[in-house]
């Protein structure tokens, strides 16, 4: 028996482990599959009992999500010209007409603007700070780093009260700029800690060689360090983006009409009748969650590092 095979699990135990973990994966993904399938159901199909696994797919939920509709009287409906587009047709089949776009597109766009704006800022500031913490003697370095981390421990509601008052004073309530600054501040702890870890791993010799070649510190920073840290910066950026994208507590307390992001908006989607329009909610959730799922797959190598603020590097 070779020394290595002692620690190698037996084929049988591998099979059992694979089946158990696979079973868990299937069960844990059912809610997500249910979101996606509900988004393609008609209203009645979505609330039928027993729950329908096989159904006729329709884009009704997506149409409802992006439009506002009204129900005209039967004779008014008969007088209308025939529907011209596919989404008109879907709506007309249920005796409704489209009266205009809904606010979902706007909310989604807000999520994109605030997400990317705050990610850009937190990466920009975070990279500078992380470089300084990694390469220079900064007075009280450990205290500052711990202070940066500790800002993440505060309950969001605890700081929300004065931020609400402060934003009201400064005219930042319900503005994109206000939310971008707020999310940047929240994400800075993550970006500084993660980026410092990534920059620490880049050998100093490259920069020193550049300095001897007559580069200034600035030039060495953006011509030598930045390209080396590109992967780390990209994965940190995705983590910041996902946080800002998912954030709910600040968004629901500090925004209402103008700068509201999608998470506080999605639970409020109602059908014309007034009940919750589950296919439309599911459609919104699908569109909203899909980018994150794709990013998660792209990020899988750095996932552990990101969620532990760089504490576990593997």
């Amino acid at each position: 028996m070779s020394a290595h095979s002692v620690t190698e699990p037996s084929p049988a135990s591998k099979w059992i482990a694979g089946i158990l973990v696979g079973l868990y994966a299937v069960i844990t993904l059912i809610p997500l599959i249910w979101i996606i399938s509900t988004s393609f159901k008609s209203g009645p199909d979505s609330i039928s009992y027993p729950p329908k696994v096989v159904f006729e797919p329709t884009l009704e939920g997506y149409v409802n999500l992006f439009t506002t509709q009204s129900r005209p009287s039967a004779e008014d409906l008969a007088k209308l010209p025939a529907p011209t587009t596919w989404y008109d047709k879907i709506t007309r089949e249920r005796g409704m007409i489209i009266s205009g776009p809904s606010r979902f597109g706007q909310r989604f766009l807000n999520s994109v603007i605030i997400g990317f704006g705050s990610t850009f800022l937190s990466i920009f500031l975070g990279t500078l700070a992380a470089f300084a913490f990694s390469r220079f003697k900064v007075p009280l370095k450990d205290d500052l780093l711990f202070f940066i981390l500790s800002t993440r421990m505060m309950p969001p509601i605890a700081v929300a009260i004065p931020i609400y008052l402060m934003f009201r004073q400064l005219g930042l309530s319900d503005t994109h700029l206000g939310m971008i600054l707020l999310y940047t501040a929240v994400n800075l702890s993550l970006s500084v800690w993660l980026l410092k870890g990534f920059i620490d791993e880049i050998p100093r010799e490259y920069e020193e060689a550049a300095l001897i070649d007559g580069y200034t510190r600035f030039q060495a920073f953006y011509k030598v360090v930045l390209p080396q840290a590109a992967t780390g910066i990209a994965s940190t950026a995705i983590f910041c983006l996902i946080f800002a994208w998912n954030e709910y507590a600040f968004a629901v307390l500090l925004t209402s009409g103008n700068a509201q992001t999608a998470p506080p908006f999605i639970p409020t989607i109602l059908s014309v009748g007034g009940g919750i329009d589950w296919p439309a909610v599911a459609a919104a959730a699908t569109l909203f969650l899909l980018p994150v799922i794709i990013f998660t797959v792209l990020l899988r190598k750095h996932l552990l590092r990101g969620i532990t603020f760089g504490a576990v590097r593997k």
Partner: protein, 315 residues
């Protein structure tokens, strides 16, 4: 400071030339790079925190900005600490914390232990399993209320299908005492992968030669698990518990969309209660004091825990 070639070069160069070669001094660059971050954190985190502390000694109400603000001393604090409701909420929070962490540790560690058998396709399955924790808790929590619907939901249907208990005989989010378990289930569904990932890193950090030595000593697999695997993965497990503890103490989004604290006050976690006091009843002064109490609690518990964690690491 380490003696780098650049430093040696700098020392050998006369001052004005050195300046021209290297631009600003290192210390100046360090400050320019760090200052914006510190400034932003001070203004969006520390300044509000100090403001909260100040408000906590007043009877200020944010919806009446023009009313006279009175200094009330420690009255807000004594009211919070003597109020029976506060303690009820703390118990609700404790129930949520203890059970979510217990389930997540048990399931997360078992999964990591199984995945560490390195069966074929384990990377792919791991990626699939971690998806829930990356999603928006608000959007997912909202959708879970649909899965929990007593008449039409998937959860009740599954229960009827598996156990025969009629689906419309109970409501996970309604009265009947299930709601506090409903939030535990969703949180466990969402965050078990987090614990799993950290445990997996812990298990993978154990070098093979230790197990080889144990085999030579003829230690049983069972004994190997209790004397090698578990103790060596423990610091990682404790780190995962720390993260989950802090996060779930501040928990807001997932639970607020699932139950909103209801039915009645059954799932009224401290942070949801705080939101009601601050933004529905507009008792700003009182809720500021409440926020400080919660923050001090988290910080205190976390520091004690980190001390314990460091002790385990030293062993």
């Amino acid at each position: 400071m380490t003696d780098t070639p650049a430093d040696r070069l700098a020392r050998a160069t006369p001052q004005p030339v050195a300046r021209r070669i290297r631009g600003l001094s290192d210390r100046a660059i360090a400050w320019i790079f760090v200052a914006p971050t510190i400034f932003l954190l001070l203004s969006v985190n520390i300044f509000p925190l100090i403001w909260t502390i100040r408000l906590s000694f007043t009877n200020f109400a944010a919806n009446k900005p023009n009313a006279e603000v009175k200094w009330v001393g420690l009255r807000n604090y004594t009211r919070i600490l003597t109020d029976a409701d506060t303690w009820a909420n703390m118990q609700t929070t404790a129930h949520f914390l203890i059970w979510t962490i217990t389930f997540q540790v048990l399931i997360g560690f078992s999964l990591a232990w199984l995945i560490n058998r390195k069966f074929k396709g384990n990377d792919l399955v791991t990626t699939l399993i971690v998806i829930p924790m990356m999603l928006s808790p608000a959007v997912v929590g909202n959708f879970w209320t649909f899965l929990y619907q007593p008449q039409i939901g998937l959860v009740n249907y599954a229960v009827e299908f598996l156990t025969g208990i009629p689906a419309d005989s109970f409501s996970m989010l309604g009265p009947g005492g299930w709601a506090r378990w409903a939030i535990v289930i969703v949180d466990t569904w969402m965050w078990t992968p987090f614990v799993m990932l950290i445990c997996l890193a812990g298990l993978r950090s154990i070098p093979d030669y230790i197990y080889e030595a144990a085999e030579v000593d003829r230690a049983s697999k069972w004994r190997q698990f209790w004397t090698i695997t578990l103790p060596m993965a423990l610091p990682f497990l404790m780190l995962a518990v720390l993260f989950r503890g802090i996060e779930n103490f501040r928990m807001f989004d997932l639970v607020v969309l699932l139950t909103g604290g209801g039915p009645g006050d059954e799932t009224l976690l401290a942070s949801i209660d705080l939101k009601r006091e601050a933004f529905e009843k507009w008792r700003t002064g009182y809720s500021s004091a409440y926020a400080i109490v919660l923050f001090v609690t988290v910080f205190g518990l976390a520091s004690i825990y980190v001390k314990a964690l460091n002790k385990v690491k030293e062993r």
